[in-house]
Structures are given as structure tokens and as C-alpha cells.
């Protein structure tokens, strides 16, 4: 597959943007501007961007509890997202829910999940609706390696399989669920589980944005065309703690360092340079991100806090 240069630069830009966005959250958190649980995706940007760019406008997205990158790559306005995480009136959900449970109807984001596994049955419902209404969209259902141990994952795959639902299951396998290594929780590779259900599967280096993009696109098109489910497992790593300011040392230092060497952004930048994209263009991207991030932060900071309104009571 030939990816245009402009798209490549977009990939790079979005990845850098997502990372800066996450670091901005840490800044915010350190100065008490962030509320609630916040799960950051630094190190996993290629997964977010590679998948997010593979969807069409009409597709439905179910991000995880670690969903900022997934949403931003999808098209969510980062200003509204940061405002949401900062508990502001201008946030996606008026500051009501923060990082872990936002919805973004404009971009067909039907809700992130604070309850691990709850996305699977909902994705089945979305997929069912697509089929009943003969739409051309697909439902993209993100989940983590740890979450794949919920029984709901299997039920979801089963329904998708017997009903031929256009669901793309996207596993972000970052090796850990909180402090627990996947290997301690299950002996089976996640994509193997899907294979059992006759679901078309693929795996990818989750730190290689183009590979993620190409494979996701291919699988999405297969799903769209054949109205059958697919699953892609992306191998990646989160650099930071489980949540924003958490730094419990449950992972070997060497492992973390090893993965930081596989930095999806640095790696992609080097690749683009090698391909002959001028360093100025890359610098321009970086400068642009910096500016956007400042604007995003300013928007969030200057937005007012919400007041309680009657419609919050049902």
C-alpha cells in the first residue's frame, strides 16, 4: 500500500499531538487542574493513530478507559476533550464525566468504558443495528489485554460470529492490566481466541503506525464488504503508570527501557527522514503541534466550570 506523504505527516503530527496532549495532562494534574482517574497512552500513540485513520465518518467507535488518543485520532476536538478532563462546561460532556466515560456524538463515539468489558455487549448491539438497518458502517471496539479476560469478550465474539456482525475488535496489548502481566492471567494469545470463533484476525507491531494503519484498513474493508467481524491485536506498551500520577514499580526497569527504545514517534520520524521528507517539514509539524497544544490548554483553562442543572436528575 502506498501512503501519501501528506498522510504520513498527518500520522506523525497526530502522534506527536497525542503525546503532547497526554503530557499536558500531567502538567495540569501536577497543578491540580485535573479531576478524576486519568489513564494516559504515552507509548501507544501509533495504535491510536493507525487505527483512527482507518475508519470512515459513519463508523462507530467504542474507546477504552485509556481513550484520549483513540478519540483524538478519530477526530474528537481535543479542546473539548481537555476541557472535559478538566471538568469544564465546554467539555464534551459538560465536565460531567472526565477522562474515562466521555461520549462524542459528533464523531460517533458512543461512549468510553470505565467498566472493563462492558464495551463488548454494547458493540454487539451497535453491530446488530448496523445490520438491521443495512448500513455500511462498522463498529470499532477497543479493549486492553487485561480486559480480554472478561467473559463478555467471548460472548461478544460469539454473537459477532453467529450473526455476522461488522465489528472490528481492536486489542491494545500493552502486556499489563494495572500491575498484572497478561501471561499471569491467560495462557492464550488474544487473537487466537478470536480465531476459534472463526473471526478473521491479524496482529501488528503496535509501535509501527503504518503497519497498524494498513492492517486496520485492510481488516476494516474486509468487515465492511463481507459483513463479518474481525480482530486485530496490537502489541505496544504504556510508558507511564497505570493512571496519570501513579508510578508503582511493578514492571522491570529494563522492560520499560526496552520499550522506550521502540518509541513509535521517534522511530517514525527517523523513517520519514530516511524516506527523504525534509527535516523542515517535520519541524513544522512539531511547531504546529506545540501551538495547537497551547491553544488547547488555554481553551480548557479559560473555560468556566459547569453548574448543576436540572437535566442531570432523571
Amino acid at each position: 500500500m502506498k501512503i501519501e506523504e501528506s498522510k504520513k505527516l498527518q500520522f506523525l503530527e497526530k502522534m506527536i499531538f497525542i503525546r503532547q496532549f497526554e503530557y499536558k495532562i500531567i502538567d495540569f494534574a501536577r497543578t491540580g487542574k485535573i479531576y478524576g482517574s486519568v489513564h494516559l497512552c504515552v507509548g501507544e500513540e501509533a495504535c491510536a493513530v493507525g487505527t483512527g485513520f482507518a475508519f470512515k465518518k459513519e463508523d462507530y467507535i467504542l474507546p477504552t478507559h485509556r481513550g484520549h488518543g483513540q478519540a483524538i485520532a478519530r477526530g474528537t476536538d481535543p479542546k473539548k476533550l481537555l476541557a472535559e478532563i478538566s471538568a469544564k462546561e465546554t467539555g464534551l460532556c459538560k465536565g460531567r464525566v472526565g477522562s474515562m466515560h466521555f461520549f462524542d456524538k459528533e464523531n460517533n463515539i458512543v461512549g468510553c468504558q470505565g467498566i472493563l468489558g462492558a464495551q463488548f455487549p454494547i458493540a454487539v448491539g451497535v453491530g446488530l443495528a448496523i445490520n438491521l438497518r443495512k448500513e455500511d458502517s462498522i463498529a470499532a471496539c477497543y479493549f486492553g489485554d487485561g480486559t480480554s479476560n472478561q467473559g463478555l469478550f467471548y460472548e461478544g465474539m460469539n454473537f459477532a460470529s453467529i450473526w455476522d456482525l461488522p465489528i472490528l475488535f481492536i486489542c491494545l496489548n500493552n502486556l499489563y492490566g494495572m500491575g498484572t502481566h497478561y501471561k499471569k492471567t491467560c495462557k492464550i494469545d488474544i487473537y487466537e481466541k478470536a480465531k476459534l470463533f472463526g473471526i478473521k484476525t491479524d496482529t501488528a507491531d503496535g509501535n509501527d503506525v503504518e503497519e497498524v494503519y494498513e492492517k486496520t484498513l485492510k481488516l476494516s474493508e474486509y468487515i465492511r464488504k463481507n459483513k463479518k467481524p474481525g480482530l486485530i491485536e496490537l502489541y505496544t506498551y504504556r510508558w507511564l503508570g497505570h493512571s496519570a500520577l501513579d508510578s508503582r514499580p511493578y514492571r522491570p526497569k529494563e522492560e520499560v527501557e526496552e520499550w522506550i527504545k521502540k518509541d513509535p514517534i521517534k522511530r517514525y520520524e527517523e523513517k520519514l527522514l530516511k524516506e527523504g521528507i525534509p527535516v523542515e517539514e517535520i519541524d513544522a509539524v512539531k511547531a504546529s503541534v506545540e501551538k495547537q497544544i497551547e491553544e488547547t490548554a488555554k481553551f480548557a483553562e479559560e473555560s468556566p466550570f459547569p453548574e448543576f442543572t436540572k437535566d442531570m436528575e432523571i
Binding site: F103, V110, P121, L132, G156, I314
Partner: protein, 328 residues
């Protein structure tokens, strides 16, 4: 034109009419379509009429069945989810507590969830502890949902049609003992708005607020007490317990000054606890004595008919409790 229909037929007619009007309405659940055709035969015939796009059989996976409803509703359809027995909703409880009920409030009204969850509840024929519960009260303390519990075929149809088009999730309790009972149902289109109680029997001496099948028990008890003691008992069927029509209850109390709540669920923190508190908070000065709650014992619903009778209120026990209360 009005005919007599059973409660089950009335529910079926409600679904049929809405499915005809709107292809976005569908029924999903275990054995609702082909094969068994509805455990209590509520959906019998609908598969033949509407086919697999609107009558959807599923594997035995309550969680994902509920998810079919939540997901499809999120993208604009109007699903009706059937749990085969109300008790099984426990398997899918997260979907109600943490998902369905919260979607509108969490999304700040971006998404509304037009979703009906039909729950055949209550005790019938000794189906025992895991197939007989009246779980209304467990759902009452969940913000974001409505709870309907129709008693007559007329209400069953009217409330279900309202529920199917309602923009928040509706927990729709059907009582298994009611399915075969008949009552008049007009052919003409109608819906019953939520939060409007029905006076099932008028009276001036005592107000009974009864939930679900207990309305019928209350009516029987009222008849007996009329004959025995010439008591005029007013029986109120709230029809929906969320929202609850406190106004109608208040009017009645101003007349009778005495209130009893009867439910098949257990007493501790039951539906009666909320209604009793509401009444006392709002009509304290009208009450001759504290609101009385009659409910099931704090036990399992036993299979044995004799034990069941000891656990669940019935007309004799209700008569006796009222006689004791009024020292008749």
C-alpha cells in the same frame, strides 16, 4: 371498539403495533421467536409476522442480550429486550446500573436510550428462589431509569407502547400470574403516560397502594373487608413506580387518613419503604397512624406452595393484617 384480551395478548399487540409503525422496534431475547416462541408465549406468532429482523433469538447470554438493546438504542433504534425471567437480569445488572441508566446523564444528553427491558417477575406455580423474585425495589434506587408494573391488560398495552417510545430506559415488570388474565382493551390507538396512577377501587376508609399482582390481592381483600366489616377501601395502582404519582395518593389520603402499601417484594428497603417515606414526608399531618407496609418475608421465595403462602402476602393474610391494624 373494545375486546377482551389477556395480559399476554395485550403486550403482544403493543409490540406488534409499534413494530408495524417503526422498523427500528425489535424484540431480542432467548427463545422469543422460533422454537420455543417465548417462554410465557408473549411473543408467539410475532416471528412469523415480522421475521428475523424484528424478532431475534439469541444464545443464552443475558449480558450480551441486554447489550444488543443498549448498543442498538445508542445508534437510534428502539429495542425491546426480554429477560426470560426477571431474576436473570442479575446476570446483566452492570448493563443497567452502570451503562443504560447513565448514558443520558453521562453524555450530557448527546445520547438518549430508548430501551425497554421486559422482566417477567413474581411468583407463580412454585418456580422457586431463582425464578420468582419481585425485584422492583432493587431498580428503584438507580437514577436514570423508569419502572413500569402494569396490572391490567389495558395498562399492559398502553404502558408498553409508551415505554417503547420513551427516551429513557424502562424496566418493564410483567407479573407471571397476570399473563392469562383477561380484560378490556380498545382497538383504537392509545398510550398511557408514566406517573399517572389508577384508582382500581374507590373507597373512603383506607388507602391501599399495591404493586403489580398485589393490586389484585388488595382488591380481593377489599371485597372481603367490605362484606365482613363494611369497610370502603380505596386501592391505588401506581402503574409506574418511577415516576411515582404522589398526588393521587395524597388526594386519597386526605380522604381516608390511613395508608397501607402492599408489594410482593421483600419488605426491607422495598418499594414500600420509599412510598411510605414519601407519604410521611408529604402527608404526615393527615395520617391517623404510621403507613403500614405489607410485603414478603425476608426470605427466599420457596417452591413449596405452603411455604410460599407463608412468605408472600395473600388475600387472607392481607385481610388479617388490616383487621389487626384497625382492631376490627
Amino acid at each position: 371498539m373494545t375486546r377482551d384480551l389477556t395480559y399476554a395478548e395485550a403486550l403482544r399487540e403493543a409490540m406488534r403495533e409499534e413494530m408495524e409503525k417503526d422498523k427500528g422496534v425489535f424484540l431480542v431475547g432467548e427463545d422469543v421467536g422460533q422454537g420455543y416462541r417465548g417462554c410465557f408465549a408473549v411473543s408467539t406468532g410475532l416471528y412469523e409476522e415480522f421475521g428475523p429482523y424484528q424478532i431475534i433469538d439469541t444464545p443464552i447470554s443475558e449480558n450480551t442480550i441486554l447489550g444488543c438493546g443498549i448498543g442498538a438504542s445508542l445508534v437510534g433504534m428502539k429495542p425491546i429486550v426480554e429477560m426470560m425471567f426477571a431474576d436473570f437480569v442479575a446476570v446483566a445488572f452492570d448493563g443497567i446500573l452502570n451503562q443504560a441508566a447513565k448514558v443520558r446523564m453521562m453524555s450530557a444528553n448527546q445520547y438518549k436510550l430508548n430501551l425497554v427491558i421486559r422482566l417477567p417477575g413474581g411468583s407463580k406455580n412454585g418456580t422457586g428462589p431463582q425464578h420468582s423474585q419481585s425485584l422492583e425495589s432493587i431498580f428503584m434506587s438507580i437514577p436514570g431509569i423508569k419502572i413500569a408494573c402494569p396490572v391490567t391488560p389495558y395498562d399492559a398495552k398502553g404502558l408498553l407502547k409508551e415505554a417503547i417510545n420513551h427516551e429513557d430506559p424502562v424496566i418493564f415488570f410483567e407479573h407471571k400470574k397476570l399473563y392469562s388474565l383477561k380484560g378490556p382493551v380498545p382497538e383504537e390507538e392509545y398510550k398511557i403516560p408514566f406517573g399517572v396512577a389508577r384508582i382500581a377501587r374507590e373507597g373512603k376508609d383506607l388507602t391501599i397502594i399495591a404493586i403489580s399482582y398485589m393490586v389484585n390481592v388488595a382488591l380481593e381483600a377489599a371485597e372481603i373487608l367490605k362484606e365482613k366489616h363494611n369497610l370502603e377501601i380505596e386501592v391505588i395502582d401506581p402503574r409506574t413506580i418511577v415516576p411515582f404519582d404522589l398526588e393521587t395518593v395524597g388526594k386519597s389520603l386526605k380522604k381516608t387518613n390511613k395508608a397501607i402499601i402492599i408489594e410482593e417484594g421483600i419488605k426491607r428497603d422495598g418499594v414500600g419503604a420509599e412510598i411510605s417515606s414519601l407519604i410521611m414526608e408529604n402527608f404526615f399531618d393527615y395520617l391517623d397512624f404510621p403507613v403500614k407496609r405489607i410485603a414478603s418475608k425476608n426470605s427466599i421465595i420457596p417452591m413449596s406452595p405452603r411455604l410460599e403462602k407463608a412468605v408472600i402476602p395473600n388475600k387472607e393474610s392481607v385481610v388479617k393484617e388490616i383487621e389487626d391494624l384497625l382492631i376490627l
